[in-house]
């Protein structure tokens, strides 16, 4: 199977949609002439023209809001935020408008819009540029949130997100744009809300998504080297969450560690933990271990940032603490 990087996978999904559906268009800061802050839309302006590849002013609230309006009128906008941290200035539009409109209108309006944003820490951008607000937006009913960890999922999820008739946030782990993986030429989609058991095992379940799959896979390798049979789940979708897959796995392994590279407190893994406690506690041989990045603003210094960011050692420490393995 051909190997491509995650950026290329996203690009392919976007390009296909632009090729096939005239209702699809894109908006965002410097996505056109500049080619996109992370080069995902490089070359699009030339191919699709300024009517469909719209460079916007630095007005996130206005262009996300305009995307919502265009979607309400039947178009299928794909809107790029230059960073997940900038979602904050558009939160009102995303939450109060995009997510609430359908319900408030008694189902008369739907908002088939995709919001894409690079997310996560790890490249020393400091407190204001390293945050992962997909975990906040995953709490909001009326919209969906996905976060791929590899090129295959990135393309499959992007296709589904664009076809979805609801607002979908695609959180793109900034550290993974250059990550390589196999992507077939044949068409496929990945259903939003379906987790992926990426490794099967019987001793312990490790659960994460997005960039968190890196430390989890690394930890799984280490544990496997010690003779343990590790099951690994990539949630892929933070809203809805595939709790059935999570619970099925825990029933088998009786041990679980949930892992996030976003801040630990209040994140999506708190939700997974609470549901597990309620629905599977009798199957567990120990505490549900929750790993996340340290609950402080993101520091700039490299050593501090690395220490704050969840890594494989943190996952292994939780496995040892919770289960003595």
């Amino acid at each position: 199977m051909p190997q491509i990087v995650l950026r290329e996978a996203l690009k392919r999904g976007l390009e296909e949609a632009l090729d096939n559906d005239p209702r699809v268009f894109m908006m965002g800061e410097d996505i056109g002439e500049y080619g996109g802050a992370y080069a995902v839309t490089d070359g699009f302006l030339k191919k699709f023209g300024p009517e469909r590849i719209k460079d916007t002013p630095i007005s996130e609230q206005a262009f996300i809001g305009a995307g919502i309006g265009a979607a309400a009128a039947g178009l299928r906008p794909i809107v790029e935020l230059m960073s997940m941290s900038f979602a904050l200035v558009a939160f009102d539009q995303i939450v109060n408008m995009a997510a609430n409109l359908r319900y408030m209108s008694g189902g008369q309006i739907s908002i088939p819009m995709v919001i894409r944003a690079p997310t996560g820490a790890g490249v020393q951008l400091g407190a204001t540029h390293s945050q992962s607000f997909e975990t906040w937006l995953a709490e909001v009913p009326g919209m969906k949130v996905v976060c791929p960890s590899n090129p295959y999922d990135a393309l499959g999820l992007m296709r589904s997100a664009i076809k979805d008739d609801n607002p979908v946030l695609v959180a793109e782990p900034a550290l993974l744009y250059g990550a390589k993986g196999e992507v077939p030429d044949e068409y496929y989609e990945i259903e939003i809300g379906k987790a992926d058991v990426t490794r099967t095992g019987t001793d312990i379940t490790l659960i994460s998504y997005g960039y968190g799959m890196r430390p989890v896979n690394e930890a799984a390798d280490t544990l496997a080297g010690r003779g343990l049979s590790v099951e690994v789940i990539d949630l892929r979708s933070l809203s809805p969450i595939d709790m059935d897959a999570v619970i099925a796995s825990v029933k088998k392994t009786n041990r679980v560690v949930v892992v996030d590279t976003a801040r630990r407190r209040g994140g999506i893994m708190a939700e997974v933990t609470a549901d597990l406690q309620q629905r599977a506690s009798e199957w567990l041989d120990g505490p549900i271990m929750r790993v996340g990045s340290v609950d402080v603003p993101w520091p700039y210094n490299r050593g501090l940032e690395r220490e704050v960011l969840t890594d494989a050692a943190d996952v292994l420490a939780a496995v040892a603490e919770g289960y003595g393995l």
């Binding site: 500049y34 916007t56 020393q124 951008l125 204001t128 050593g303």
Partner: protein, 352 residues
């Protein structure tokens, strides 16, 4: 209002042609040591310091010693230096992520500033903030803010405190052309005007917000100052490549603010000679445009003018350059030799 102050910018342009007249009455309001006489050589020293500092930053970014996003002030030195030279010690300065120039013009320690960019414990924020988040509260330098336009209401709040405390101090807030497209920019202008806050809105119009030229993202052309009439905020335009013009225009606005006349707005037309950040390949603009602006490089034109006017000798200029070069070199050494913050620093400074 805009039209009446437009003439002040014309004056400052004329003045700039004969720097001796650059000494003006507003200067005697200054208690920060600049004095009644314009210290031309110090203005040059500051601009040259910023230029060399930024060049060193670029080099150390390429080496990997400085990381994250790095936005250089190269080309814009005359604006920050001219504007900040008019302020007093108690005035607040608020900047955005392109903040090194404002910080150095304010007199932040060059070693500690460089160390911050290196992420070292000796840095102004102990290595926690980085290039986009420089702070030195003792110098009333209130950051370094990396969310576009996020610094404007903060500046209004600082000015509110100055007004509340019945001082005649003021706050200067720097921002870029691109930031004017944020809603909070308009909200802050209106709020400041309604409350007559002692704030100087200082727009550094460098013609681009990242890869977007103003014409592509703003209805109404490249001039922002005329629009200030909407808010009832007096506004002036000034040549941001001319440090003396900037200084004089700012002095006038500062005098008005101290006189209780409320917010003022200055738009300096300037240019960054380099990319938006070190990650920018500048595909969106031609090099001819850059070259044209470079011909007005204040680091070259200002000393040339001073020498021609008999206000400086080439020996004096050379001496200043040598001193600055050494200081910048030493700042890099200082940063390199400084330790990283201790890991325990992760948990400090989160709450008061």
């Amino acid at each position: 209002m805009a039209s009446s102050t437009k003439s002040s910018s014309t004056t400052s342009r004329e003045t700039a042609k004969s720097p001796k007249n650059g000494k003006n009455s507003a200067a005697d309001l200054d208690k920060s040591g600049i004095g009644a006489e314009t210290d031309y050589l110090d203005l040059f020293r500051q601009m040259y310091l910023i230029r060399q500092f930024e060049i060193a930053c670029g080099e150390n970014y390429s080496k990997g010693s400085i990381r994250g996003f790095l936005h250089l002030y190269i080309g814009q030195e005359a604006t920050g230096v001219g504007a900040i030279s008019t302020l007093r010690e108690d005035d607040y300065i608020v900047s955005h992520y392109r903040d090194h120039g404002h910080a150095l013009a304010r007199g932040l320690d060059i070693n500690r500033s460089m160390a911050e960019l290196f992420g070292r414990s000796t840095g102004t924020s102990k290595g926690k903030g980085g290039s986009m988040h420089l702070f030195d509260v003792a110098k009333r330098f209130m950051g370094g803010h990396a969310i576009v336009a996020g610094q404007l209401p903060l500046a209004a709040g600082l000015a509110l405190a100055q007004q509340y405390n019945k001082t005649d101090d003021l706050t200067i807030c720097f921002f870029g052309d691109g930031s004017t497209n944020q809603g909070v920019y308009h909200e802050t202008l209106n709020l400041a005007a309604v409350w007559k806050l002692p704030i100087l809105f200082f727009l550094e119009n460098n013609m681009y917000g990242m890869g977007s030229s103003i014409e592509r993202v703003r209805a109404g052309g490249i001039d922002f100052y005329p629009g200030m009439a909407t808010y009832g905020i007096p506004a002036a335009e000034v040549d941001g490549m001319d440090v003396l013009a900037v200084k004089e225009t700012t002095e006038l606005a500062v005098a008005r603010i101290r006189n209780g006349e409320g917010p003022q707005f200055i738009e300096a037309k300037t240019f960054r000679f380099v990319g938006h950040s070190l990650a920018d390949g500048q595909k969106y603009r031609g090099q001819e445009e850059v070259k044209e602006w470079e011909e007005r490089d204040p680091i070259i034109t200002f000393p040339t003018k001073l020498i021609a006017m008999g206000l400086a000798t080439s020996d004096q200029i050379a001496e200043i350059k040598a001193g600055v070069d050494l200081a910048v070199e030493n700042s890099v050494k200082f940063a390199e030799e400084s330790p990283d913050p201790d890991l325990s620093e992760i948990h400090t400074d989160v709450l008061a």
